[in-house]
Symmetry: C2
Subunit: 368 residues, 2 copies
């Protein structure tokens, strides 16, 4: 980093500042930049199209020398198989559809990009469907399915079951990431959220808390349901009163913020709260502070996910880390498998939760 650099002189601004700038393309790029096809390559090599084609399939049987020749020449003249022609024959598309919702939660953009990057390494391209308005999801999924993705991955979407069924009817297997549909035949990758909830209960009870609260998010989400279940059951098992539950309704800052108001109106104020995830927890904390309470002095707060923001000093959120690495790598492995065997039996992978990261939103031991 360097300082003390003074801005360039003002005259530059004019050239940059035109409000709408139009210019004609200088180099009219060769209008018919024809792609090189197998035929071209075959002619170039003096071989048949069949042989050339076979050279690209390791399992196909070609003279090693021939293969080398083809591959070399292909790279030299820039031949790349047309994926459309390919999938017309092979019925594989190398496309994985990614259905995303809940983009408001910083957890997902990261998952999305990493998943995309990892799949690209396997030669699979990601086709994206975003499910903001739930009504349009179905259309979007239809459009996606017309591309016959080898696989679709559903990222935490509260998907209408119709869409899911459409996938299976279209013959595209579906992996649920970080959310389970409950269907018997489903493929899923998720954290063990029950165990996560249990850990939080233990932690809070060990700290000496007695009046627990769970701030629930989207009621249809398995993550929400399981965290709540683990938390509440363990609290009971530890001899503490059954935690209260506030239904905040969604995995969002706003939901958490609003839940704080609801909490403040409770007849008996809880002394510790487990929120369905980090973004809800952060909203809750800000809501609670806005109302004049202190965290953790008046109330301890725990989240779930350990998104980057949780570590920022302004939040310093105590939270359960979600094992994203593992979830991701298992998903990719799973994707590879399902892409080649779409009819594999349903299988759900539950990854143990990461550690509970103790930060500033819960009291120190022995201060209660």
């Amino acid at each position: 980093m360097e300082c003390d650099y003074v801005c360039a002189a003002p005259q530059l601004s004019k050239s940059l500042h035109r409000t709408e700038e139009r210019m004609t393309t200088l180099d009219q790029k060769s209008p018919s930049r024809r792609r090189v096809t197998v035929k071209d390559l075959a002619k170039d090599l003096g071989m048949s199209v069949s042989t050339v084609s076979r050279a690209f399939y390791p399992e196909a049987i070609v003279a090693p020398a021939t293969r080398t020749l083809v591959l070399e020449r292909a790279r030299a003249i820039g031949y790349k198989a047309n994926p459309y022609a390919q999938s017309l024959i092979t019925k594989r598309t190398q496309i994985v559809g990614l259905v995303v919702a809940d983009i408001t939660n910083p957890f997902y953009p990261e998952v999305m990009t990493r998943l995309t990057a990892d799949l690209q390494v396997l030669g699979m391209n990601v086709m994206l469907v975003s499910a903001n308005a739930t009504d349009k999801v179905d259309d979007a999924v239809q459009l996606l399915l017309s591309y016959q993705p080898d696989l679709v991955i559903i990222l935490a979407a509260a998907l209408s079951s119709r869409a899911v069924q459409e996938c299976s009817e279209a013959g595209s297997p579906c992996i649920f990431f970080n959310r389970l549909s409950g269907d018997a035949a489903e493929h899923g990758v998720t954290c063990d959220n029950i165990a996560g909830g249990i850990n939080v209960a233990d932690y809070l009870v060990d700290l000496g808390h007695k009046r627990l609260l769970y701030v629930a998010a989207f009621p249809g989400a398995s993550t929400n349901v399981e965290r709540q279940r683990g938390f509440c059951e363990r609290a009971l098992a530890r001899g503490v009163a059954a935690p209260l539950v506030i239904e905040a309704g969604s995995f969002s800052y706003e939901a958490g913020f609003a839940a704080a108001k609801t909490m403040a109106e409770l007849p008996e104020r809880p002394d510790a709260v487990f929120c369905a995830n980090d973004i809800v927890a952060i909203g809750f904390i800000e809501g609670v502070r806005t109302l004049g309470f202190s965290v953790p002095e008046d109330i301890s707060v725990v989240g779930f996910d350990d998104i980057a923001m949780a570590a920022w000093p302004s939040h310093a959120l105590t939270t359960v880390r979600q094992p994203v690495e593992e979830m991701l790598s298992i998903t990719v492995e799973f994707a590879r498998k399902l892409a080649s065997d779409p009819d594999a039996p349903g299988e759900v992978h539950r990854i143990p939760p990461g550690p509970l990261i103790e930060r500033g939103t819960t009291r120190r031991r022995g201060t209660l």
Copy 2:
């Protein structure tokens, strides 16, 4: 919202808690769920394949009655043209490639999802390339290009110029969103960042600030450069000393946080800071607070974007709103146009910045 709901009894946990669950698919979905093709539809209707095909193209000439018949029957038996076969002929793919980087900035996930949703309405599917590791971008873009997208949209990526050139060589036009490459023939949609910088300078000077600082982000980004330019030039024009500049290096929380340290070591402390964007500003604020300074008492801070987080009470960031709506709708319109006319001349749209939203990180008027 409702409270006081007590968790369900514990026995449920066992069934949910198996660590790895395997089950065979019950309904072996008809292994060869053959798609219905034009041929099927034609036979069903007793027409020729040609006629049937034509019915789907409004510009093709078919008897109106025939068309109705075809369309009706198609929907009835669930016919959908195979896009791969289609694009083999038409050379259009209805695919737009979306190259994304900087996913750390909450501004982008939203842009991404909305863009995706809007394009889907036009029948275009989004193929995603994420550019985290810059080295792998080129490969990913290659893979993308093999799908011959009708268009690629580059979202704020610090793209190697090679990748961009590859797009144009592959014949896919490229729109730069919220970042300009400076190439003469480029298509771009961006906010007028110079004007934005000017507004901030005016605002801060009007407030009475005299020692200004700009916290720069990625030096290769046009947004960064232009905001800085507008800000610094206007400050000078207003008779204030040339703003200092700290090169934070990237559009990230961490960069802003680190810049705060650098700032603290300056011989003369600035009294107001304009950060390259909101996420940098938020990092800067937290950094500055960690060092024991108060915002805005010791230093005023202004950001750029007005991401949702900027409005959270913990930040209450004064910032320039980015006109996302307009940028998005222009991009979509632009996309439609370029998809049908890939050789349209380069054109860059500059949208005036949104208002400066005054919140809590800048002093009140007259307190200086």
